[in-house]
Every structure is written in C-alpha cells, then in structure tokens.
Amino acid sequence: MDVTSPVREVLVTGNKTYHDVSHDICRHVEAKPNPRWMGAMVLSLGALFVGGYALAITLWDGIGMWGLNKTVGWAWDITNFVWWVGIGHAGTLISAVLLLFRQKWRTSINRAAEAMTIFAVICALLFPLIHTGRPWLSFYWFVPIPNTWGSLWVNFHSPLLWDFFAISTYFTVSLVFWYIGLIPDFATIRDRATNKISKAIYGALSFGWDGAAKTWQRYETVSLVLAGLATPLVLSVHTIVSMDFATSVIPGWHTTIFPPYFVAGAIFSGFAMVLTLMLVTRKVYKLEDYITINHIELMNIIIMITGSIVGVAYITELFMAWYSGVQYEQYAFLNRATGPYWWAYWAMMTCNVISPQLFWFKKIRTSLWATFILSIIVNIGMWFERFVIIVTSLHRDYLPSSWAMFSPTIYDMGIYLFSFGLFFTLFFSFAKFFPVINMAEVKAVLKSSSGEISNKK
C-alpha cells in the first residue's frame, strides 16, 4: 500500500507528529497578537485610511478627479482591476488544478493562497464598481433586473456583463471552497480552545464538525467536484476579462491570443504574490518545516513556465502585428515599444520576460532572497503589462488631433493605495485568526512524506 518514491523529497520536514502539526499552526491563533503583527496591521490600516480619503473624494466629486481624459477613458482603475484579478488566480489554481493533478505539495500552501485569492478578488471588484461613477446605481448595469424597474434588461451580449458573472461566481465558489477546507481546522481549534470566547467563536465557525468517516468521505467528494468545477472556472475568469479587450475594435486589443495569454499572465502574477506573502508568513510564523525550499522551488518553476508563456505571447503579438499588414495594428505596437510610453513597455518586458528566466539556475530558484525580490519584480512587471495594454492602445486615437497622454492624479494613486490597505488588512487578520496552513490535509500527507511516522509502524 505505502509506496514512497525515493526520488521525491519529503513534503514536511522536522519529523513532525500529528500533534506537532496542530500545535505549530494553532499556536499562532491562540497566542496574543505580537508587536510585529500589530505594527504590520497599523501600516495596512494607515494605507486603508489614507487611500480611503482618495476613494471618498472620488465618490463625492466623481471620477473627474482621476487623470482620465476624452481619449484615455480606462487607465489606472482598469489596470488595477485586471492586476488584482490576475493575482487572484493562484489560489484556486493551487487548490483546484493541483488537487486534480494529485500534487500533494499543494497542501502546505493552499490555505493562504486561497485566502489571498479571495482578498485580491475583493480588491479587484472595487475598481470596476467605482469606475461606474455612481456605484449605488451600478446594479442596474450588472445585475439582471429591469432598468428603472421598467423592463429594459442588462445587455447579455456584452463581455463586461459576462465579466460581472464570471468574477462574482469565481468569488463565491472560491469562498465556499476555502470555507469547506477551513471547517475541520476550525474544529481542531475549537477542541483545543481553553477560553469560552474562542470556544464559542470557533465552535460556531466549525459548523459542528466531528470528523466522522462518513463526513470525511463526503468532504473528499465535495472537494474533488469543487476542484473539477473551479478548474474551468479559473480559466474562464481571466479569459472573460481578456474579452473585455479582445472583443473591441481597438488596435492592440483586438487579438485572438488574449485569452490564453491573460490566463498565463494571471497564474504568473498570482504565484508571484503567493511567494511574496508566503515567504514572509513562513519566516514570521517559523513554518520552515511546512513550506520548504522544495515548495518554493516548485512554485518558482511554475513562475518560470508561465513567464515564458507570457514572453512567447508578447513576441507572437508583435509578429502578428507585423504579419497582419494592418497599419493600425503595426503602429499600435511600434508606439508601445518606441512611443512616449516606451519605458512602461520595456519595464514590462524586463520584469516579465527576462527576470523569470533567472529561475533556470537552481541556485536562484532555491534562494529565498532571490525568490522574494523576483516575486515582487514579477508583480511590478504584471502591473506594467496591464498599463501598457490599456493606456498605450488608447492614447493615440485614430485621429492625431485627439492624441493625448495619461498621467495619474493623486486620487488614482490613493485608490490604488486603498486597495493595498484593504488587501493587507484582510490578509493580516486572516493570518492571525485563521489557521494559515490546512492542518487536516497536511496530516493526511504527513505519513507518506515524513520519515519518522513511516518508521514508527
């Protein structure tokens, strides 16, 4: 029955027993918040409030406060939207796709990655919502209810509406998937709890879970089916986001390569964000035995592969622009690389195409510092990618008389800051009050991976 492949490195090091797993993860939930956590929380709440001012002004005075103009109608808002949605792709990929492929190493990172996904999608949803100008009316454009309660409905031919359905479904399904996984771990915390309040809170959160074999059997079926549903879902979300652009007639947007190219880019940036967060969490919570160099190396390999796919997509785009013989297309790409926004284009090229290639070197992909720095560089690059696609395609309109430049105002920047504040406030709260590693699933792979327990038999 127990076949342990000799080439596979152990998933959890340090000869952990089952009880060690519960203890190592739960103690962070049970301990009083430490000063470093408080400091981090104050910083993120600060960003939330400072950025919240920019958001409040935008809601009060309207989106005229932004740097948008007649020619460039989408800029930072949609860039941030696509960027955050992209980041929100890693969690479900790790929990769903890697589950279907039976990659057991996912168990140490899926919980935090899914949390990150949910928070990133919340940040993403903010941008299209405020971009509508009057968010309190926006459900007339998104939700299928008759306009002004007459009977003019939303437009189901529009990719923007598909996007609303895709992202809200993605958010709901990811949340449910995440919560199902949390229930057994909440039960562990409930049963360890010594004070009344946490017993009551985690008791309520754990839904009366008792770990019966029949429930576990159903739990596993539910996880598997949810993974099967979430896999096409995660691919559909960024596909549909890319259709916001691809179904238009703007040169530089109107390309059939967009869906796969966006999906690869989303996984690329999502994994980078997971690494940025996990490297810090691992260090602060001393989880080196659970998130090993092996995990980091595997994630770096995924970054390298998806980064290469993105690179191939960039080059294909350039080739197709030239090969199409369409002047508008050719100009759009020439302008990207050599026009007034050349720096954004080359920042994107350097960060996304060149930097992940460094992961071919084993030394670099197993180095914590190199991984941390590169993971941030990748996300800077992915932000520039969206900026380049959106702004450089728009700013030189068909008529040279309407050519314009975009520069962000303090309100554009403030709202971006707000989204960071929101994201980190949510993530730090998660890291304090929720188990950051899926204890039950780690225990399930402990035996096949940890030498000590196999020897005990």
Binding site: M1, V173, A187, F207, G208, G211, W216, T221, A444
Partner: protein
C-alpha cells in the same frame, strides 16, 4: 445519536492500525458505529463498508438546473421581453449567452452541492459536534461501538479493541 446512549470508544494512534483493527472487529461480527479521524484517511470508507457518496449526482443536477435557468433567463430578457439589436447580433444569440450560462452552471452546481453536503452531514453554524474523544480533531483516531447494537458486552468489546491495537479504551455515555 438516536440509536444508542452507551458506547465503547477505542483510541488508535495510527491510521494503519485503525484500518487493520476495523477489519478484525468487523470480522468478529461487531457493528462499528462510526470512526472519527483528524484527517481523511485513505481507504477508511471502504474498510467500514460505506458506499460511494452520491453527492456528485446532486452537483450534476444543480449544474443542469443552472444551465437551463441561465438560458431561459437570457432568452426571455433578450429575445422576448425587450428584443433589441445589439452589434447586429440576433435577439437570441446563443454563442454570446454561453459565458454567462457557464458561470451560472458552475455557481449553482457548487452552491447546491455544498448546501446538500451541509444538510446531509448535519453541518450548520452552532451545530453540536458528537465528541467521543476530544483528541479526534488533533492526533487520535477514534472508533465508537454502540452497545445497544451489539450482543457483546463492554468487557468483551474492550478486549477486542485492545487486541486489535487500540492504545486505550474508554466508555462514553450520552444523555
């Protein structure tokens, strides 16, 4: 808990001991009430003789409902209630309805299946867990045997559990 009030509870340290114990105990014509484990133990449901969960059928039915509802909604809104020509497309243009239909399918399948799971497994906020041993969510595998459903007495069951590899045996009564 409707079945009985008095249980003999065996505690096991390792999943492989639990699996072999189940085989032995069931071989001795003892009915096992349920096993409680801290994590999903591979093959436990087979050893206990549980049938495959039919919950995926529920997911399929909910998904199918989602697909139908989504298409009905879009066909009614775009084609019947207020037909408009948008981008030169037909009023009922099936290809542009596919993304939304897909999303609604996934949404209903996922939510419906999870709701089914909660209902049949009696999981709800503030639900009371049946705790035979509090360590079963930490590191111990717990096997509960209902005295009312077996002809053997506590002593015989305890001996059988210890012989099968249990590290300790307790009695548990519910009122």
């Amino acid at each position: 808990m409707e079945s009985g009030k008095n249980f003999v509870v065996g505690i096991f340290d390792d999943e492989s001991i639990l699996l072999s114990a189940i085989k032995k105990i069931r071989g001795n014509d003892v009915k096992i009430h349920e096993c409680y484990t801290p994590y999903p133990v591979h093959g436990l449901d087979d050893e206990l003789g549980y049938k495959r969960s039919r919950i995926s059928i529920a997911a399929f039915v909910f998904g199918l409902t989602g697909t139908s509802l989504a298409f009905l909604m879009m066909i009614y809104m775009m084609g019947i209630d207020w037909p408009m020509i948008i981008g030169g497309k037909d009023h009922i243009a099936i290809p542009s309805f596919i993304p939304v239909a897909f999303e609604v399918t996934v949404l209903l399948a996922a939510l419906g299946m999870v709701a089914t799971f909660f209902v049949i497994s009696n999981l709800k906020p503030y639900g009371k867990p049946v705790t035979f041993d509090i360590r079963s969510t930490d590191d111990k595998h717990v096997m509960a045997i209902d005295l009312a459903k077996n002809s053997k007495n506590t002593k015989e069951l305890s001996t059988l559990l210890m012989e099968s590899g249990a590290s300790e045996v307790n009695e548990k009564s519910f009122n």
